[in-house]
């Protein structure tokens, strides 16, 4: 596989086009995920300003917003995923978000968290981190948390989860410059993430250990093989189909090799 940006011929481009997304002349693709009512739209609006476009996900009735921003000489395309509580179930919103993370392969994914309801919000973050390594947490609504007497230790979050976390108040744009900077650093490999992978119950873990190598045989180098195994154990129809059609194999081939991302200055380690 070519290491440069030969977008027209790369299979990732075909997958993106299928979802109605073209990278255009943007350098990087960033996804924005989060639970409903976390101020995700505020983050999106604050980052993209007037440079946004609202349409529908191809073949779906769910609205899709995408926009762009420039930072330090690079242009970023930001795709706002439907708000969802998890990536497990079969709701249309969750399916869209999941498929985009899996097949759209954004260069970085921002997960917007509600600082006042961190526990519930972390469920989605943990699931996103199963699919993709390059995640930045945006701990939003910090002002509301402060008003409610909650003290959120963002550094502890970042340490436990193995990905950077940035406190923000999207409505007043507080913290957004740091967020943009962190995203750029993760994409450039200045920050190497090491996302926490939740340890399932022993009997499930055993089954995962057996399936994961089999998946890697079909799709060598697939970064989310363990997640795929977990979905198979859950009887996920979509993932089965993707496997049968050979789409996961393609995914693995186009995934950038980790060697390219070794110029790390900061390294964050997960607790696992």
């Amino acid at each position: 596989m070519a290491t440069g940006h030969d977008c027209e011929t790369c299979p990732a481009h075909a997958q993106l086009a299928q979802m109605g997304i073209s990278l255009g002349d943007a350098d990087h693709l960033v996804a924005l995920a989060g639970n409903p009512n976390t101020g995700k739209s505020s983050v999106f609006n604050a980052l993209t300003g007037l440079r946004q476009h609202v349409g529908n996900w191809t073949g779906k009735t769910v609205a899709r917003a995408e926009g762009g921003y420039r930072y330090a000489g690079k242009s970023y395309k930001l795709v706002d995923l439907p708000g969802s509580y998890s990536l497990l179930s079969a709701s249309q919103d969750e399916e869209i978000a999941r498929n985009f993370l899996l097949f759209g392969r954004p260069d970085c994914t921002i997960v917007v968290l509600d600082a006042t309801a961190l526990e519930r919000n972390l469920n989605l973050a943990l699931q996103v981190m199963e699919i993709t390594d390059r995640v930045v947490l945006c701990v939003n609504l910090m002002d509301e948390a402060r008003r409610k007497g909650l003290e959120v230790d963002v550094r502890s979050l970042s340490r436990d989860l193995g990905v950077p976390a940035v406190p923000t108040v999207a409505r007043t744009k507080e913290g957004l410059p740091q967020l943009v900077q962190t995203v750029a650093d993760v994409i450039a490999g200045e920050i190497v993430t090491k996302p926490l992978r939740v340890q399932p119950p022993p009997e499930v873990a055993q089954a995962l250990d057996e399936l994961t190598p089999l998946i890697l045989e079909i799709a060598p180098g697939l970064p989310n093989a363990r997640w795929v195994a977990m979905r198979l154990l859950d009887g996920d129809h979509e993932v089965r189909q993707a496997l049968l059609r050979g789409e996961l194999g393609l995914l693995a081939e186009t995934q950038a090799s980790p060697a390219e991302r070794q110029s790390s200055l900061i390294s964050i380690h997960g607790s696992q």
Partner: protein, 468 residues
């Protein structure tokens, strides 16, 4: 494309192995994965968040643990429901009677005024003894219970209790092969089945959504509560000492509601094994924090949005229905009124299912709206000429039992029929709008109707066989 043939077999053998493992792990793999996820999320957030007001949050969680516990969740829910009905029955009795007295006095006064002004007999009859009497019935029977039931129900909603109900019922619906959110659309059905059918849009899977649509009718909407409450008070409550009458009546209504939920689950189960086969899908339900209900908003939403809205709909259908009944009762053909012909024709059918011709006629006339079943029955029983004052439950009991031979069987079967019969015209229209399919609309109409006839027929036959 040559690359795709070789890994295909590998993929197939992988899937086969994963299916084996999946079967070995049992049904609740997802639950176990999710709970490990939640456990981790809880640990991490506890380390990261320091709450100065942690105590209140703990209190919330303690309530939640009780309200959604496996052991106490469902009994607590039934107790709350019973309390709501008890308050409604207890509180509605006196205002209903006062309203009826006032409104029927206006009828006499108005009719008298028309007569002295020299208006023809048929016009006075049609307007005052037909249209107006229908309206007076609907208002006096429906307004007081609704004015109590809706605010109390809205308080529970505002507190954040309804999502907990859905949480408690989720496993039942999943066992039936349906979506857990069906518990929510079912709860909407308690208000109005048409609203419940529209609410099924929250269910993404078309299969599970159809199940929710087809079974929504099995919970009684507020148009049917007056019928149920009246029967519970007259037949069950009256059999108890006065101090316990309201409690017994409330318990009866809760029993009917539970029976409705039972039928919902049973029919959902039947559908997933016949015409709508498939697996239940999972979903995430957010339990919002408990909030202090805001009194003004509750009064507004329950009185303006609900009570007035529902009453207005009832009035719109009651006015023409009142006219129809008056015409049926006053136009003679061969020495008998049209109503008497219709009642005589429907009587054998009614008798076979433990009811009578008047009830059958009332249900035909009340197809547009369930609210007017009781008023229609009363007007048919009272006839056109004999203007008996009926203002309280005791008068109704005397009319039904002493003059028209109602028994406990009639009351039980009327409750069953009211619970199970076809949806009202508005709901049928809504089912069609939501499914855009004549087939599903027909099934959604005829399935409940045939179940109502079957169940009532079975109960009547058994009752008569066992009765001494």
């Amino acid at each position: 494309m040559s690359a795709t043939t070789e890994p295909l077999s590998a993929a197939e053998s992988l899937l086969r192995r994963s299916d084996d493992l999946r079967r070995g792990l049992g049904e609740d793999v997802r639950d176990r994965i999710v709970s490990s996820l939640y456990g981790e999320a809880q640990r991490i957030s506890q380390r990261a968040v320091h709450d100065e007001k942690a105590r209140r949050w703990d209190f919330d969680q303690k309530i939640d643990r009780l309200v959604t516990s496996r052991l106490f969740g469902l009994p607590l829910m039934l107790l709350l429901l019973a309390a709501v009905f008890y308050l409604t029955i207890l509180g509605a009795n006196v205002p209903s009677q006062m309203l009826a007295e006032a409104l029927f006095a206006v009828e006499d006064w108005g009719a008298g005024l028309f007569q002295t002004a020299g208006s023809p007999e048929w016009l006075t009859g049609l307007l005052w003894h037909g249209v107006y009497r229908g309206l007076a019935w609907v208002i006096s029977v429906m307004l007081p219970p609704m004015a109590i039931f809706f605010p109390v129900f809205t308080i529970l909603e505002d507190l954040g209790y309804l999502p907990r109900v859905a949480f408690n019922m989720d496993w039942l619906f999943r066992k039936a092969g349906a979506h857990g959110k069906q518990a929510l659309t079912m709860a909407m059905g308690f208000g109005c089945n048409a609203a419940g059918v529209i609410a099924t849009r929250v269910i993404d899977s078309p299969r599970e959504r159809l199940i929710a649509i087809l079974t929504n009718n099995f919970v009684p909407c507020n148009g049917r509560y007056p019928t149920l409450i009246m029967l519970a008070v007259i037949f069950v409550g009256a059999a108890f000492p006065p101090a316990w009458a309201s409690v017994a009546a409330a318990a009866t209504v809760v029993g009917v509601v539970m029976l409705g939920v039972g039928f919902t689950l049973l029919v959902s189960w039947g559908l997933t094994r016949t015409v709508l086969q498939g697996e239940a899908s999972a979903f995430t339900l957010e339990l919002p924090p408990y909030r202090r209900p805001s009194v003004l908003r509750i009064l507004y939403t329950s009185l303006i949005d609900r009570t007035i809205f529902v009453l207005w709909r009832a009035i719109l259908t009651a006015a023409p229905a009142g006219a129809v009944i008056w015409v049926l009762a006053n136009v003679d053909a061969g020495g008998r009124s049209l109503a008497q012909h219709a009642i005589a024709f429907l009587d054998p059918l009614g008798h076979a299912i433990g009811l009578d011709g008047v009830v059958m006629l009332a249900y035909v006339i009340a197809i547009p709206a369930n609210e007017i079943v009781v008023p229609t029955m009363m007007m048919c029983y009272l006839g056109a000429g004999m203007m008996t004052e009926i203002t309280n439950y005791e008068d109704i009991r005397r009319l039904l039992v002493d003059q028209h031979g109602w028994t406990m069987l009639t009351a039980v079967n009327l409750m069953l029929f009211s619970l199970l019969h076809n949806p009202c015209a508005t709901t049928i229209l809504t089912i069609w709008k939501e499914t855009r399919s004549g087939k599903w609309t027909a099934l959604g109409t005829l399935l409940p109707l045939s179940m109502a006839f079957l169940v009532c027929f079975a109960v009547a036959t058994l009752w008569r066989a066992l009765a001494p």
